[in-house]
């Protein structure tokens, strides 16, 4: 990379940032994620091996690979602009990933390339964080109780499954994305991508066990477009 | 210091600085080291045997432990290589005959036998080249080190053996150099090398049988 390229990149970023923040005239994509078919029944998690965690859950928690809501809605689906939007520099805020009661909070964490990732352990037991990255560098670190948060960042966009080697039921996802236009669907399956300047976008929805779906959307001006994704659920 | 100790009968008096004493001592030393080379090579053969026993018993265990063992058809060139290695043993014996038996033995600086030694060296090289050809042949069939357990063992055993043959060729090369340069040749060093060299042929025969055998 030459100095010229750096300068151009910086300039482009500046333009992009000033455009995105330019409130009026920008559009929004919103919608809902649903499924059709029968999803697998969530299974309850037996934490008896880790009593300090088990007692934090009076009723056992269940697996979170597929989280459904009322009206066949699907939570924890990452919706993001996979094409059409320029790459953006990371925000200065950090993405926080907590381990509490031997669960990942949140189960799916979306953040940007280069953004600070802060992993903390609120439990009385050691956890092990093992993001199974393929494009990025794979690492595997343990975090005993009382140790400072692990700070890291990722250089490339990727959907990274995360697991705890000590507690095999703990699984989550890091969604490392190129720009700030992303949303993780809430319990009712809804999502919202605001502040989109006019243009043609490819919107991708990613569900950790059903894979991804895409749609092309054109934003002409200060409008809100509603789209929906319907995943095919499998009973097993 | 050492003067309080009785000196050895037949040794020159213990005077450190006399060149005669130093030379005699050095001779005695060199001969004892050459003496040791004999038992050294037997000990080494013992250790090498043990290593190959470990390799081959690993092979038998692995072959018996799982169902993924498909037998390997050995490249024909291996049998030619076997002949080559045994021919190299024979030429080594011929060189012994030329060097230590008959009239040539008297003339310390004669180069007799160096031809046979050179031929032995060449046959050794030919063997290693032949093994290399066998590896090429297998890999051209798509059989690499990690392809199957039998190809793994084939490469491990033949490469380990070839490395040991190369080690023997170093010793052989040293003998050739001594001989060509008209340097004196110690019988012990010669014999140690020959023991090792014949051992390589026997070891190869063993490996060939192991690789050929189907359990």
């Amino acid at each position: 990379m030459t100095v010229k390229h750096v300068f151009l990149a910086a300039f482009a970023t500046f333009v992009a940032v000033s455009v995105t923040t330019a409130g009026p005239g920008s559009g929004t994509i919103s919608g809902k994620i649903t499924y059709e078919g029968t999803p697998a029944k969530p299974k309850s998690i037996d934490m008896s091996k880790e009593p300090s965690c088990a007692k934090q859950h009076p009723t056992p928690i269940t697996t979170e690979t597929v989280v459904t809501g009322p009206g066949n809605s699907l939570a924890n689906v990452v919706v993001y602009i996979s094409a059409g939007a320029p790459d953006e520099p990371p925000p200065s805020t950090s993405a926080n990933f907590d381990q509490k009661g031997c669960q990942y909070l949140p189960h799916v964490l979306a953040f940007q390339v280069g953004q600070e990732l802060k992993i903390s352990n609120d439990d009385q037991t050691s956890h092990n964080i093992h993001p199974l990255a393929k494009i990025n560098r794979e690492w595997n670190k343990s975090q005993p109780p009382g140790t400072p948060p692990i700070i890291d960042k990722y250089d490339k966009a990727e959907m990274i499954p995360v697991k705890c080697n000590i507690h095999p039921w703990m699984h989550g996802t890091f969604a490392v994305l190129k720009n700030s236009h992303y949303s993780v669907s809430s319990d009712d399956g809804s999502f919202k991508l605001p502040n989109l300047p006019p243009g043609k976008y490819t919107v991708t929805a990613y569900q950790e066990s059903y894979g991804e779906m895409t749609q092309d959307v054109v934003i002409a001006g200060g409008e809100t477009k509603t789209i929906s994704f319907v995943f095919k659920a499998k009973p097993y | 210091m050492s003067t309080t100790h009785p000196s050895v009968v037949g040794e020159p008096p213990a005077l450190i600085s006399t060149p005669v004493a130093a030379l005699a001592r050095a001779n005695a030393r060199a001969s004892s080291a050459a003496e040791a080379s004999h038992s050294g090579v037997w000990v080494a053969i013992f250790a090498i045997t043990m290593s190959f026993v470990a390799f081959t018993s690993a092979l038998f265990v692995r072959e018996g432990a799982s169902g993924d063992w498909t037998h390997l058809t050995l490249p024909t060139i291996l049998y030619w290589n076997t002949l080559t290695l045994f021919a190299a043993s024979a030429t080594f014996e011929l060189s012994r005959h030329a060097i230590f038996v008959g009239r040539e033995f008297r003339s310390a600086s004669a180069r007799s036998g160096s031809g046979w030694l050179l031929l032995t060296l060449a046959l050794g090289l030919l063997f290693v080249a032949g093994q290399f050809a066998a590896w090429r042949q297998l890999s051209s069939q798509g059989l690499y080190l990690a392809t199957s357990p039998n190809s793994s063992f084939f490469y491990v055993l033949t490469v380990a053996h070839a490395l040991h043959v190369l080690g023997g060729m170093l010793a052989l090369g040293w003998l050739v150099r001594q001989r060509l340069g008209g340097q004196p040749l110690r019988r012990r060093s010669f014999e140690s090398t020959s023991i090792y060299w014949h051992f390589m042929a026997v070891l190869w025969l063993y490996l060939l049988i192991v690789l050929r055998t189907k359990l």
């Binding site: 343990s142 | 050492s2 100790h5 290593s51 690993a58």
Partner: protein, 593 residues
């Protein structure tokens, strides 16, 4: 002798220049000292690692200041992570077993004293000898490098059981490059040890002085000789095993990795390998390795004890034959490490019997030591104290072997601290006591300066009592069912055992600190110690006939002639109650030997 050799091939001239004299020296004495120095570095490193482990076990939430600088990932904020604990454990075991227990009693003292004791000027192959040290040193560097790579040291223990050690980074931190370095280091170490053992054997067979028959060799020479035979066989098996492990790790072969393993959510691409194959190969080396550590120590202790008692042992021959049968039996017992590994249960019994049988020669040796004390005129200096302490440790560590040799008891005791107590007692501490005894006994000969006796005695008492305080409770923990290799005790019933664990940790910290007295004594005496006479302990064997320290060619320009059995003590000689091996005078009276 051939007539063709009128010219010497090379004249063995004294080496010139610092580099050739002290670094790349061909002199067996310098090489012996180099091995000793390497073992010293390794033992203090290993001890430091054990401190960290013991500290972490009882105070898991107390940061160890500064540790985060050693490993930012392994010890964030100075708190040891589970994987770093296992790294420490693996490196502690590897350093101690390979670089201390193999190097110090065998390679270091063997190198220094075997040629002198048989009246030789040097080893049979001085160049191989130098190479074997530098190979071992390289192995040490490769191993230590694992501390400084981002991946960290391996976490699979010194036994490196496959497939944990074979599948690579998926199985955990340290199992990618850390484990590679481990396997490479051990392979190099095997090569170095093979060279060394070959040299020892050839030297003993061929370079004995005139009159030095096999039965006139001192017991420690015998021990080194028998040990080198064991080592030759053992390392010749471990080397191929390491090569196969390296190939599994780097070349995608499947010697030790079976099909269908899912490690960290990754289905492994290997198929058909056998994890038990690694265990068989490893323990075929591993059990004899115990005797590689303990036999030289036993030989050294016999040698020192005879000198301190001023009388020969009841029977040196019986000791030598017992050592030989131990060496022989050591190759028939490896399966007792694998009682619970799913071998055929009948082979469990088949391995149990020879294991129990080893007790017989071991008991004979012990009884001869103790019985020989009867009627002795025992000198109680530091060397002697450590030799006697060795016997006590050997007994303690030996009797616990009785339990573990039985598969039915192994069902309960396998994998508990009982095993840890057993092998630390008999293989670790006992062998180290042999090394300490040897150091106090021979330091004067090796450096020309005597060690300080008072410091030596203080060192002995702290170490003797300290090691009992550390390792005896390990047996109790094992009986209760405390599992070894746990980085912290989260088990429900560990609570009541914590006071015992605290006691052990405090004992370990104190005993470890006492070793600095020894270190100080070594360094101080090396420079400030009184000058050592040629024969400070009125010994009889050939090392006492040469100056302290011996000249580069040991015996000057003479060749010693041996007239006697090695231990002519309790007789009337011209110099006192002993006759030296190279003295032609005849013994009158004395005790039968």
């Amino acid at each position: 002798m051939e007539e063709t050799s009128v010219q010497p091939t090379h004249v063995h001239a004294p080496p010139q220049g610092f580099l050739w004299k002290h670094v790349f020296s061909l002199d067996h004495k310098v090489i012996g000292k180099q091995y000793y120095a390497l073992a010293l570095v390794a033992v203090f490193t290993g001890m430091f690692l054990s401190w960290l482990m013991r500290f972490h076990l009882v105070w898991p939430n107390t940061p160890i200041p500064g540790l985060q600088f050693l490993s930012k990932v392994g010890a964030p904020g100075g708190l040891i992570t589970p994987e770093y604990y296992l790294s420490l454990l693996t490196m502690h075991g590897t350093l101690m077993v390979f670089f201390v227990l193999t190097n110090a009693p065998f390679a270091a003292f063997g190198n220094y004293f075997l040629p002198i004791q048989i009246g030789a000027e040097d080893m049979a192959f001085p160049r191989f000898n130098m190479m074997s040290f530098w190979t071992t040193f390289l192995a040490f560097l490769v191993l230590m490098l694992a501390f400084f790579i981002p991946d960290g040291p391996p976490i699979s223990g010194w036994t490196a059981y496959a497939p944990l050690s074979a599948v690579g980074g998926d199985a955990g931190p340290g199992l990618a490059w850390g484990q590679n370095l481990w396997a490479i280091s051990i392979a190099i170490f095997c090569a170095g040890s093979l060279l060394g053992a070959l040299n020892f054997i050839a030297t003993t067979i061929d370079l004995r002085a005139k009159g030095m028959t096999f039965m006139r060799m001192p017991i420690c020479t015998w021990a080194w000789f028998i040990t080198s035979c064991i080592a030759l066989l053992a390392f010749a098996v471990l080397l191929p095993a390491c090569i196969l492990l390296i190939l599994d790790r780097t070349a995608g072969t499947s010697f030790f990795i079976p099909s269908g393993l899912v490690v960290s959510d990754h289905l492994q691409p290997h198929s058909g390998g056998s994890p038990l194959l690694w265990q068989h190969l490893f323990w075929f080396f591993g059990h004899p390795e115990v005797y590689i550590a303990i036999l030289p120590a036993a030989g050294i202790v016999s040698h020192i004890l005879i000198n301190s008692m001023r009388k020969p042992l009841l029977s040196a021959k019986v000791i030598i034959y017992s050592m030989m049968s131990i060496g022989f039996l050591s190759y028939m017992v490896w399966g007792h490490h694998m009682f619970l590994s799913g071998m055929n249960p009948a082979s469990g019994l088949a391995f149990s019997f020879p294991t129990l049988t080893i007790t017989i020669p071991a008991t004979i040796i012990t009884l001869i030591w103790i019985g020989s004390l009867y009627g002795a005129n025992l000198r109680m200096d530091s060397a002697s104290l450590f030799a006697l302490g060795f016997i006590s440790m050997f007994v303690t560590g030996g009797v616990s072997g009785f339990f573990l040799a039985q598969p039915s008891l192994d069902i309960y005791l396998h994998g508990t601290y009982f095993v840890v107590g057993h092998f630390h007692m008999v293989m670790g501490v006992a062998a180290l006591f042999g090394v300490f005894a040897a150091t106090y006994f021979w330091f004067g000969k090796m450096t020309g300066h005597m060690m300080n006796e008072t410091l030596g005695k203080v060192h002995f008492w702290l170490t003797f009592i300290g090691t009992y305080c550390i390792f005896m409770p390990f047996h109790y923990l094992g009986l209760v069912g405390n599992i070894r290799r746990y980085s912290s005790f989260v088990n429900d019933f560990m609570g009541p055992l914590m006071p015992l664990h605290k006691f052990i940790t405090i004992a370990a910290l104190c005993t470890g600190a006492a070793q600095f007295i020894f270190l100080f004594n070594l360094v101080y005496s090396r420079f400030k110690g009184p000058k050592a006479p040629d024969n400070p302990w009125q010994g009889t064997t050939l090392e006492w006939t040469v100056p302290s320290p011996p000249p580069w060619n040991n015996f000057g320009d003479t060749h010693p002639i041996v007239y006697h059995d090695p231990y002519q003590y309790g007789v009337k000689g011209s110099k006192g109650d002993f006759i030296m091996q190279d003295s032609p005078e005849q013994a009158t009276g004395g005790v039968a030997g």
